[in-house]
């Protein structure tokens, strides 16, 4: 059962990373335009050089 000492902190840490990532996306307005962002990624406009 010693393995629990590693596994529980690891699972909490991984879950916590997911939670932090979600909170980051909410805070940086990434859900404001889900439809537009889904299309934008398919555009080849900035394929050759990054957007200035």
């Amino acid at each position: 059962m010693e393995v629990l000492a590693y596994l529980i902190p690891i699972s909490l840490l991984l879950g916590g990373i997911g939670l932090a990532a979600f909170i980051y996306t909410v805070r940086s307005n990434q859900y404001d335009d889900p439809e537009g962002d889904a299309r934008r990624i398919l555009s080849n406009q900035w394929d050759d050089k990054p957007k200035p």
Partner: protein, 725 residues
């Protein structure tokens, strides 16, 4: 972006070396919002952004495809009117939006807050649930205690953060000595936490940390759904309001300048172009034209306008440019005075108790009494306060209105989404429930059942030669009657005669020369005819007696279908209009409406609706004009088309986004179905309680049973709501 200029008098030596510039006001960057209803793909986004960024003065432009909107940061010299033609050349329909009216949607802080709490509750409940599963499957002794302690360490901070909305609501209700749905919720959560912690310190077997967290998660999901539905409706309603950018042309020293309506003061001279709406109350000082007052009074006959005539905000100028002197602005205009009537009428509506509230009223005291009784009973029976408290907590968790909290929002979300796709915007939270009860429908005529555009009725009565002359004259004017005449004649294959020297005389009509004779098309008095009762334009050729072109208001698409469907559904349909007897009678006959009232003043309409309400009817009012506003607010539930005045849209619960009226009957149907689903959901929740509560009271309820009952009832309720989509 404009850099802030450094003032010349700087304290540090390094700054003095920098080029000194005279202090001047920092030019404020303006934000322009454009509505782009036509965009739909990634190519559209790229084109619109490229076109906008290429415009001089534009700093940045970003398209939001979800909202079909573009936000432009630009220098102060750029105006929306300069950008719209650019987009139209690129093939996109664009309208200016008032960024001020949109500001609330920009900072959607409350929604984000709720989402964050939901995420934390979800994260914590999943982790604690994993630990609980291992306890249920047989962890014992020290392992079980450790799992419980870890669960406690996760549950306490998570609940302190994510259950805050419930704590706040429950406290505000308790402070005024009332009970709401949140009181049993908070009590259940807190009691579960406290007893579980106590049990854990005594290395007990049962801990309800998972239940407390799952409860919070499901309830927050319900709250978030509820919030989303209202936010979507609010943002769409705001967009409608923002489409009417309140600007006016003020005349200063003979020059026109564009200003916000709010900046106008009494005594200002304002130029109103043909097709424009009066921004304020005033008096005409220059120009001749005709005014369309239908939005204010319901009258379809345009009124002749000349210097000296008083005009009210909201009237539409039809033919010639007018200069008016403002006599009342802002809150004092007749448009705003109407708001008082609305306020009085609206006080009646707040009496409606939603289904959720009436359920809570029955539910909350029952839950508390049941839990208190089982606590007392077990205390007397076993004499052990620990057992009694444990059982009281189990009862509270089982009966907690988790499914009830989801029952209403899940259904309203599904129903509002379905109606939104059909072009209806549900603005008010309880509008659907009220719509389901409707048994009487009152329609306004002008602008609601009719499209507000005239239709020529007696084309066949005129000789071809007359029609050719009339067409030639009508083509020179943009008056609604002329436009309608032109369309009708063109469709009948008439070609315009060779009429020379055609001029439009604002306020009267069009005049020209045909084979040496003077020909006129216009108002009765100007052409030498008697004004009849119907909307008409008169054609005078030389000295011949003038001939009348009669018009009637075209029906709105779907009006006939809506009326028929409502009557078939067993609802009584009434027509109340401010228009003349003849016009209303004719329309009522055409639609088969037996009950109609003509020449009704705004107060009459509201009084009539009130009388119906007093007679025990549930009235649905459909109207668009300012004269309907009070009636809209007085009715049990109200609908207005998107073309309605801002005031009417604000007063109504539901807005029709398209021009078609036929979704109204369908909406009543959907509303009835939605209410049925809400009741079903309440029943489902009750059934779960009836099964699980005896177990809890008997002390047989383990945390596993509590978790199962709670999750299955919440999921069943959500699935039942989804059947509505």
């Amino acid at each position: 972006m404009t850099a802030q200029m450094r003032p010349g008098t700087a304290a540090c030596p390094g700054c003095i070396a920098a080029p000194a510039e005279p202090v001047r006001p920092v030019p404020q960057d303006v934000q322009i919002a454009l509505s782009l209803p036509g965009i739909h793909c990634s190519a559209c986004i790229a084109t619109v952004e490229r076109e906008l960024n290429a415009c001089p003065g534009v700093d940045s432009a970003r398209v939001n495809l979800t909202l079909k909107r573009a936000m432009v940061q630009a220098g102060p010299e750029v105006r929306a009117a300069d950008l719209i033609p650019v987009l139209e050349r690129a093939g996109f329909e664009a309208h200016e939006l008032d960024p001020g009216a949109l500001s609330a949607t920009q900072s959607d802080k409350a929604g984000r807050d709720l989402l964050m709490r939901l995420a934390v509750a979800g994260f914590a409940s999943m982790n604690v649930m994993l630990l609980s599963v291992s306890v249920w499957s047989g962890a014992s002794d020290a392992t079980r205690d450790m799992f419980h302690w870890i669960s406690a360490a996760i549950a306490f901070p998570a609940i302190a953060f994510s259950a805050q909305p419930f704590f706040v609501n429950a406290w505000s209700a308790l402070r005024v000595r009332r009970l709401n749905m949140d009181v049993p919720i908070v009590l259940a959560i807190l009691l579960a936490l406290v007893t579980s912690l106590w049990e854990t310190t005594l290395s007990g077997e049962h801990a309800y940390f998972d239940a407390a967290l799952t409860l919070t998660f499901f309830l927050l999901a319900g709250r978030y759904l509820d919030y989303r539905t209202r936010a979507v409706a609010r943002s769409a309603a705001e967009e409608l309001a923002a489409l009417e950018v309140p600007r006016a042309m003020r005349l200063v020293d003979g020059r026109e300048e564009e200003v916000a309506v709010a900046a106008l003061v009494v005594g200002d001279l304002i130029r109103v172009r043909p097709g424009g709406r009066m921004p304020v109350d005033g008096e005409i000082v220059m120009g001749r034209s005709e005014l369309d007052r239908s939005l204010l009074t319901g009258e379809t006959l345009p009124v002749f306008a000349e210097p000296g005539l008083a005009v009210s905000a909201g009237e539409v100028n039809l033919t010639g440019p007018l200069t008016i002197r403002a006599t009342a602005v802002g809150q004092d205009t007749s448009l705003h005075r109407m708001a008082d009537l609305v306020a009085i009428a609206e006080s009646g509506r707040s009496r409606y108790t939603s289904l959720a509230d009436s359920a809570a009223k029955l539910y909350a005291p029952g839950v508390h009494i049941l839990s208190a009784l089982s606590f007392l009973g077990w205390l007397l029976y076993s004499g052990d306060i620990r057992t009694a408290l444990n059982i009281a907590a189990a009862v509270l968790i089982i009966t907690c209105p988790c499914a009830l909290g989801l029952a209403v929002p899940a259904v309203t979300t599904a129903a509002s989404g379905r109606l939104f796709r059909k072009g209806m915007l549900i603005k008010h939270a309880t509008a659907l429930e009220r719509l389901a009860e409707v048994d009487t429908v009152v329609f306004d005529k002008t602008g609601t059942l009719t499209a507000g555009t005239p239709e020529l009725t007696n084309l066949g009565d005129h000789p071809r030669a007359d029609l050719e002359i009339a067409l030639a004259l009508a083509e020179a004017s943009s008056h609604p009657l002329s436009v309608s005449l032109t369309n009708a004649a063109r469709e009948a294959g008439i070609r315009p005669a060779k009429v020379t020297d055609v001029v439009e005389v604002p306020g009267f009509g069009a005049e020209g020369q045909y084979r040496g004779q003077r020909v006129r098309l216009g108002r009765a008095a100007w052409t030498g005819a008697e004004q009849g009762r119907q909307t008409a334009a008169w054609l005078a050729i030389g000295d011949r007696a003038p001939a009348a072109f009669l018009f009637s208001d075209a029906l709105r698409p779907g009006a006939a279908e809506a009326v028929t469907a409502l009557r078939q559904a067993g609802k009584q349909v009434l027509l109340i209009s401010g228009d003349t007897q003849a016009a209303v009678a004719e329309l009522a006959a055409r639609l088969g409406i037996e009950d109609w009232v003509a020449e009704a003043l705004p107060q009459d309409k509201a009084a009539r609706v009130q009388a119906l309400t007093d007679a025990g009817r549930k009235v649905l009012m459909v109207g668009d004009g300012l004269n309907d506003t009070a009636a809209l607010a007085a009715a049990h539930v109200s609908i207005s088309p998107a073309s309605a005045l801002d005031a009417a849209r604000v007063a109504s619960d539901i807005v029709l986004l398209g021009t078609d009226l036929s979704p109204i009957a369908d909406a009543c149907d959907t509303a009835a179905k939605a209410t049925r689903r809400i009741r079903e959901n309440f029943q489902i929740a009750t059934v779960y309680n009836v099964i699980a509560v005896p177990l809890a009271v008997a002390g047989l309820c383990s945390p596993l049973i509590a978790a199962l009952a709670m999750s299955t009832s919440s999921i069943t309720v959500s699935l039942n709501a989804l059947r509505l989509r």
